[in-house]
């Protein structure tokens, strides 16, 4: 079905799915959010564990995420105009945060990698602080972008920001596991335990969000839950999020014997892939509030 016919069919349906974010070129926005989220988490975790390679990976991921965001826009050449309304717009705040991260992180990395003697100097410190502010913003803003979407009851939940922040942490840990396996460095102390803890938090937040949407009384939110658990997105959710993102990593972690670098890399990659499918399915599950005459107003 072409885009026009799809739109007409959607307009006729009782529960109109949003297709602008998450389908067609809209997938680029989900990819952008996914990459930027992992970048924020990786920068944070790499700073915590002192992994310079992690900082570099985070920077590259953020840059790729920024490119994905730009490619999603209808008019990317006007992107700098997005800084104007940071007082009210979460998209604008995200843009500012990402810009700060790329500028500050770039300065800090350049000094650390190319002039290590200046790594504790003023320039590096300023870059580090700017990058830290950017990190906080890019980890936090995505969930709020969705929560601010009043048209989509399933997203319009106070739990969404918490879920996205937890995703960023999980992504950061997953990235460190992969980096550790590739560079041959041992995984930082407690990293696996942290992955299990954060994964439990993600599962809890998601379960609470699903429960809230299902029991909250909004028909559009219920429709979204139905789409995820037993509808058009069930394959993405069960196959991508649950099987790939949860069962595979847990099976690798619970397997008897020493955790090899390859196994750790697979845990990280599967975890990150699961996060992507989780984000994709929740974004695609968005259904607009139906427009109906309230029952008590149907007769004068």
């Amino acid at each position: 079905m072409n885009r026009y016919d799809q739109l007409i069919a959607d307009l006729r349906s009782d529960y109109r799915p949003q297709r602008e974010w998450g389908e067609g070129r809209g997938v680029l926005m989900v990819i952008g959010h996914f990459l930027v989220g992992i970048a924020g988490g990786t920068w944070l975790m790499a700073s915590l564990y002192g992994v310079t390679a992690g900082l570099a990976v985070a920077y590259v991921l953020a840059a790729l995420g920024a490119l994905a965001h730009l490619a999603f826009l209808g008019r990317p050449e006007r992107a700098f105009g997005m800084m104007r309304h940071f007082r009210t717009s979460w998209i604008s705040r995200g843009f500012v945060g990402l810009a700060l991260f790329l500028i500050g992180g770039g300065v800090y990395l350049a000094v650390t990698l190319f002039a290590p003697e200046g790594a504790t100097g003023l320039v590096a410190r300023i870059g580090q602080v700017i990058a830290a502010v950017g990190t906080v913003v890019i980890i936090g803003y995505m969930g709020f972008c969705y929560t601010a979407s009043k048209a989509i009851p399933f997203w319009h939940s106070p739990l969404h920001p918490a879920l996205y922040i937890a995703f960023a942490f999980r992504g950061g840990i997953a990235a460190l596991l992969v980096i550790g396996a590739v560079t041959g460095a041992a995984a930082g102390a407690g990293l696996l335990e942290m992955w299990i803890g954060v994964t439990a938090a993600v599962a809890l937040f998601f379960a609470l969000e699903i429960h809230g949407a299902w029991s909250g009384g909004n028909v559009a939110a219920r429709w979204s839950v139905r789409d995820i658990l037993a509808g058009r997105l069930a394959l993405l959710f069960y196959g991508g999020t649950l099987a790939l993102g949860l069962i595979v990593p847990l099976a690798l972690l619970l397997a008897p014997g020493v955790h090899s670098p390859v196994a750790m890399a697979l845990v990280g990659l599967a975890s990150a892939a699961g996060d992507f499918f989780m984000k994709l399915s929740t974004v695609r599950a968005g259904v607009y509030l139906p427009l109906v005459i309230p029952a008590r107003r149907q007769r004068a």
Binding site: R3, Y4, L7, I8, L11, R16, Q18, E20, W21, R25, F72, L73, G74, R75, P76, R78, A79, G81, M82, M83, R84, H85, F86, T88, S89, W90, I91, S92, F95, C145, Y146, A148, S149, K150, A151, I152, W155, G286, Y288, L289, L291, V292, I293, P294, R297, Q298, R299, A300
Partner: protein, 201 residues
């Protein structure tokens, strides 16, 4: 002055006159409907009935689309009309996710009603108004209001179901209709302060 509209659902007969006149006035591309009419069947045999609901941008007083817009493209124009500056829009579509009424459309690529036959002279003339890669919506026909005319959907409503006027003026027709007939808005729980009111069917 706060411009608002009242739509009398008792008068509306779902003739699509508003939708068609809006299309004709603005020359919007396929897939873009500033005004549209929703139809729904209610009840069961032997007492089913059709409910008609004409919808358009609600020009909310606390418009979430304006807050969500990162560039200021979505803005309040004169008399509280919510409009889009196409020269500022980046096409991020955050406004579409913010609008609880789903009355915004993304113009992703140029399309014409007769496909391979190309644009009609009218479509050609109108296409310059709507650049690609931006979001579009109803603006209460600001150009007509500036000329002292009513919006096209109001002017062409055969049943005179639509009335436009100043909601801040308690003596205006719209204020009187809302007061006397118990006008209601769609999704008041969204807290957006919509300025399009409906009178019960």
């Amino acid at each position: 002055m706060r411009l608002g509209m009242v739509i009398d659902l008792k008068r509306c007969m779902a003739c699509y006159g508003c939708q068609m006149s809006c299309k004709a006035e603005h020359g919007t591309p396929p897939g873009v409907f500033f005004a549209r009419v929703l139809k729904r069947e209610e009840g069961h045999y032997p007492t089913p009935r059709m409910l008609f609901l004409p919808v358009l941008c609600n020009h909310c007083s606390d418009a979430p689309c304006v807050s969500a817009c990162p560039t200021g493209a979505s803005h309040y124009a004169e008399h509280g009309i919510v409009d889009i500056d196409h020269d500022k829009c980046v096409g991020c579509r955050a406004c579409m996710m913010a609008c609880p009424y789903g009355n915004r459309y993304f113009h992703d690529e140029r399309r014409y009603y007769f496909g391979d036959a190309g644009p009609t002279p009218y479509e050609q003339a109108c296409s310059d108004r709507y650049p690609e890669g931006v979001v579009m919506k109803c603006n209460f026909c600001r150009h007509r209001l500036a000329e002292g005319k009513d919006p096209a959907c109001v002017e062409n409503c055969a049943a005179k179901a639509r009335t436009i006027g100043d909601l801040d003026d308690p003596k205006s027709t719209v204020s009187r209709l809302i007061k006397e007939r118990g006008g209601f808005t769609l999704h008041p729980e969204a807290g957006t302060g919509p300025n399009v009111y409906y009178l019960a069917p």
